[in-house]
């Protein structure tokens, strides 16, 4: 297990370096700093839930990689719907908790906008990454349960930071 952990750590360090790149923005606006763990975590969770469901369908033989496959499309739609449900709550929650324990610099609407924009983009990316990884695992005859979830969770972590960075640039400058 250790070699896998070390490889995944190197992937995670990449997202750490991106975070380090906008550390000053984050330290200046604590509500954005509060968004970091929950955005990364939720992106990874969306990906891993989708991956777990698709690999179960795959094992049951009810999944095909056709663009009109009901299982595939239904699960992809659910992933986007879940993101659009939880990310407004995440934005509002991050702002509220920051206001409770200290002071906020940004208006609540800005923090919600950052969270929702990041969440919507992440849901789409999580679907793409999960489908590609599941398909590649299937092609190489690997069990998707072993391969897909760790890869998807850690790739979504990195994407979570990159997308959050993009959303902050877009709405905060």
């Amino acid at each position: 297990m250790l070699p896998v952990l070390l490889a995944l750590t190197l992937i995670e360090l990449f997202s750490g370096l991106v975070l380090g790149g906008f550390e000053e923005d984050l330290l200046r606006s604590p509500s954005l700093l509060v968004l970091v763990p929950v955005t990364i975590g939720t992106a990874g969770n969306l990906g891993s839930i989708l991956a777990a469901r698709l690999s179960t369908s795959f094992h049951l033989g009810t999944l095909s990689f056709a663009p009109d496959d009901d299982e595939l499309v239904g699960n992809a739609v659910a992933t986007v719907a879940l993101a659009l449900t939880v990310f407004p709550v995440i934005g509002a929650g991050a702002w509220l908790l920051t206001a409770l324990v200290g002071s906020t610099r940004l208006p609540v609407t800005t923090v919600i906008a950052v969270a929702v924009a990041a969440g919507a983009a992440l849901a789409v990316l999580a679907v793409v990454v999960t489908l590609v990884t599941t398909f590649v695992a299937y092609r190489f005859g690997l069990d998707p349960d072993d391969v897909v979830i760790p890869v998807v969770t850690n790739v979504c972590d990195v994407l979570g930071v990159l997308v959050l960075f993009g959303a902050i640039r877009l709405f905060v400058g």
Binding site: L5, T9, G16, G20, L33, V34, V77, L82
Partner: protein, 193 residues
């Protein structure tokens, strides 16, 4: 099933777990937001955060999954007093993996930031923080995973569905809390450079 039925079912099944980890993630975020002084005092600490949080999830998610499988197979009993050598070995391996990976992350952050010419805390500070955080969160997460999986199993819940949400929620919260504790311990011991 139609696309709509698949989507509605997937949505309903996933929402509670996502909601639970959302609460954990926000609490972890508040801890991170509250340690801005520590982040400024230890350059490179923020770079380390995603790797440390992911390590908690990867190591203890896998430990929980092993524990659940062993319960299903009847290899262990869901009681801590009856925990046997097999169980102790799995717990020790998880702790060792978690600490080694944390130390590796700390050294890698130091090497990368030094190579890039960025500001970075001294190596002993980063390694000390990673070591203390790895030990404290490892012990706490082992206790949480074991008690939740055992208690859930005795009450008739499938431990497989408990492990994921429990590890992601408590992993983030304990990961951040013990990272903050670790910085304070290392500074108190004079490792702040």
């Amino acid at each position: 099933m139609t696309v709509r039925e698949v989507a509605v079912r997937a949505y309903r099944e996933a929402l509670p777990a996502l909601g639970a980890s959302l609460v954990g993630g926000l609490i972890a975020g508040v801890v991170l937001g509250g340690m801005r002084a520590e982040l400024r005092a230890v350059p490179g600490l923020l770079v380390l955060v995603p790797a440390l949080l992911a390590t908690r999830g990867n190591v203890y998610g896998s430990f929980g999954a092993r524990l659940a499988t062993a319960l299903h197979q009847g290899l262990i009993e869901p009681r801590i007093s009856e925990a046997d050598r097999r169980f102790a070995a799995a717990a020790t391996a998880a702790l060792a993996n978690g600490i080694l990976t944390s130390l590796f992350a700390a050294v890698a952050v130091f090497v990368i930031l030094t190579t890039l010419g960025e500001r970075v805390a001294p190596l002993p500070t980063l390694v000390g923080v990673a070591l203390v955080a790895g030990i404290l969160s490892g012990v706490a997460l082992t206790a949480v995973v074991v008690s939740v999986v055992f208690a859930g199993y005795r009450k008739g819940h499938n431990p497989d569905t408990l492990v994921g949400p429990v590890v992601t929620t408590t992993g983030d919260v304990f990961g951040m809390l013990f990272l903050l504790t670790a910085v304070r311990v290392v500074f108190a011991l004079g490792g702040g450079g």
